[in-house]
Amino acid sequence: MKAQVKDKLATGSFYFGAGLVVLLLFSLLVYIILHGYQAIDLDFLLSEPETLRAGGGIGPNIFNSFYLLFLSMALTAPLGILGGIYLAEYARQNSLTNLIRLSIEALTSLPSIVVGLFGLLVFVTMFGFGYSLVAGALALTVINLPLMVRVTEENLRTVPGELREASLSLGATKWQTICRVVLPSALPGLITGVIIAAGRVFGEAAALLFTAGMTTPHLDFTQLDLLHPTSPWNPFRPGETLAVHIWKINSEALIPDIRRVADGSAAVLVLIVLSFNLLARWLARRFSTRLAGK
């Protein structure tokens, strides 16, 4: 009897512990969104941040975050997918492959501040990019590349071997098989992987402090000259992202309405990251029902 009572008690405490974690996430989200709701309006989302006065917004920061994400994904996705193809389709069991895997593991576990410092040393100083979006995008690529390679490799490995064999037996070369058979059938997983990776770098800040910088010039959206310092699309201008902005106003800002701006920024950031996550889930489910023929 005693063992049964203990079993019931244990089950109860597992439910309690799990419930506690769910409650934790729930209260975090409610706190962020409720506080943010009071701060967010259209003006806040569109106007520029202030350095001394109250009433600043986060318009350029939102733009910078998305533009930086685009720049870094434009690098990460092709490099990561090609690297993943090598590991899944070509790599043999040898010491070079082991070294590649070890490097990917090493890159995955690097603290993001260390990546930021590497970016400061190499991209900002040695390459002479200065604090710029391009330096930030490269730093984000260092963070995201290993993830992208791993996701690609895992997804390609789930493609059944019969598909490859069928394609090869029809006379296709290995590269043709990869491009026309393996990649298309792994595409849903790859897209989900890209979105998850995007959500992860969207909130990254430590790697960007000393690469993309902590300032944004006045952006003139009518300026079409790509290399003009006020052009929003100029990759060589500095750009403070939303995540960096949250850190900066809390640690060194002089504005009187820090709480309002920080609450609003945190809510916007979390909502965007959340929607990346939901989008990835929704796509994954949609693809899986389509592939099941429903």
């Binding site: 063992a3 203990k6 079993d7 244990a10 597992f14 439910y15 799990a18 506690l20 974690v21 769910v22 996430l25 975090l28 090609l82 690297g83 193809i85 090598y86 070509y90 070294l99 590649i100 490097s103 593991e105 090493a106 890159l107 576990s109 690097l110 603290p111 993001s112 501040i113 260390v114 410092l117 590497f118 400061l120 040393l121 190499v122 260092v142 590349l145 070369t173 290995k174 590269w175 043709q176 990869i178 992860r200 909130g203 990254e204 800040a205 430590a206 402090l209 000393f210 995540a243 949250i246 850190w247 640690s251 709480r259 920080a262 945190a266 950031l269 979390v270 990251v273 959340l274 996550n277």
Partner: protein, 298 residues
């Protein structure tokens, strides 16, 4: 047959392209190690700092020699990093393992539908947001109810514990799910209750995998910069209680990297701290690899 030729060329090109991209991982790792250690070790070969100076607790990087400076001891920073991350892992591990057991054994259905998304969302919240919540809820709460300024070891530990919970939970869940069903069935057949099976059979067998999750969490906590920097007060002293402020390697770098002159002793010491972070993160990989091998052999 010219078409064969063309396809053969494409085949080679495809191979070369993917191979180059895979090699980038090695080149990046090598570049990071080379450049960071070259910059970090300049405290020794440019500034001729002695080992007893750098591995001490005295931190006066801007004092002139007449006043006993400059002293660039980084032990205070290292102590801060070690203490915050180990405590965070200790606080987080029980919760992480509870969640893992719940998902793998108690209610896989609820685990899949509710806890899995919850864990993924927790993992997705950016670290600055955790830092900001710590700053706006935890720090005032500690100040008003427990004393001190609120900026404290305790605040840092709690923020980190929440941040690493998803890592510990998901790796431990994988470890438990990978166990063969027959283990549990054998335990049940011998008359064990579910709790007895979990405690005496499943958890001990999955030990290596769970430990791997905790160490991955520990590594994440050790390398986290901004969330910690926002709540621990960044006072360059060894704390005497969990309510005292302290500083870590990462927060020390964050605080001063932008405000010190490139090439100065102070600045180069920060690069040395970054090198230490790099070495420690490689050390964690080594431990995890060893655990993985041990888990595979069993």
């Amino acid at each position: 047959m010219p078409w064969l030729n063309r396809n053969f060329r494409r085949e080679l090109k495809g191979y070369a392209l993917t191979f180059t991209c895979a090699l980038i991982a090695i080149m990046l790792t090598a570049a990071i190690i080379t450049f960071l250690s070259w910059k970090g070790l300049s405290v020794f070969y440019v500034h001729k700092v002695s080992l007893t100076n750098i591995f001490s607790v005295d931190w006066w990087p801007d004092r002139p020699p007449e006043a006993g400076g400059p002293q660039v001891g980084i032990l205070t920073f290292m102590f801060g990093s070690v203490v915050t991350s180990i405590l965070a892992a200790l606080v987080s591990a029980p919760f992480g393992v509870t969640v893992a057991v719940f998902m793998a054994e108690i209610s896989p259905r609820l685990g899949q539908r509710v806890l899995q998304p919850v864990i993924e969302l927790l993992a997705g919240i950016p670290s600055v947001v955790y830092g900001y919540i710590g700053l706006s809820i935890l720090v005032p709460f500690i100040r008003n109810n427990l004393g001190g300024t609120g900026f404290s070891l305790l605040a840092g530990v709690l923020v980190l514990a929440v941040m690493i919970l998803p890592t510990i939970a998901s790796v431990s869940t994988d470890a438990l799910r990978a166990l063969p069903r027959s283990l549990k069935e054998a335990a049940f057949a011998l008359g064990a209750t579910r709790w007895q099976a979990i405690r005496m059979v499943l958890l001990p067998t999955a030990r290596a995998g769970i430990l791997m999750g905790v160490i991955l969490g520990l590594a994440r906590a050790f390398g986290e910069a901004l969330a910690v920097q926002m709540v621990i007060g960044n006072k360059r002293e060894i704390p005497h209680s969990i309510l005292d402020p302290l500083i870590t390697l990462t927060s020390g770098i964050t605080m001063d990297m932008g405000n010190t002159v490139q090439g100065s002793l102070w600045n180069d010491t920060l690069w040395f701290m970054a090198t230490i972070l790099l070495v420690i993160s490689f050390f964690f990989i080594l431990v995890i690899r060893m655990l993985g091998r041990k888990g595979a052999v069993r």
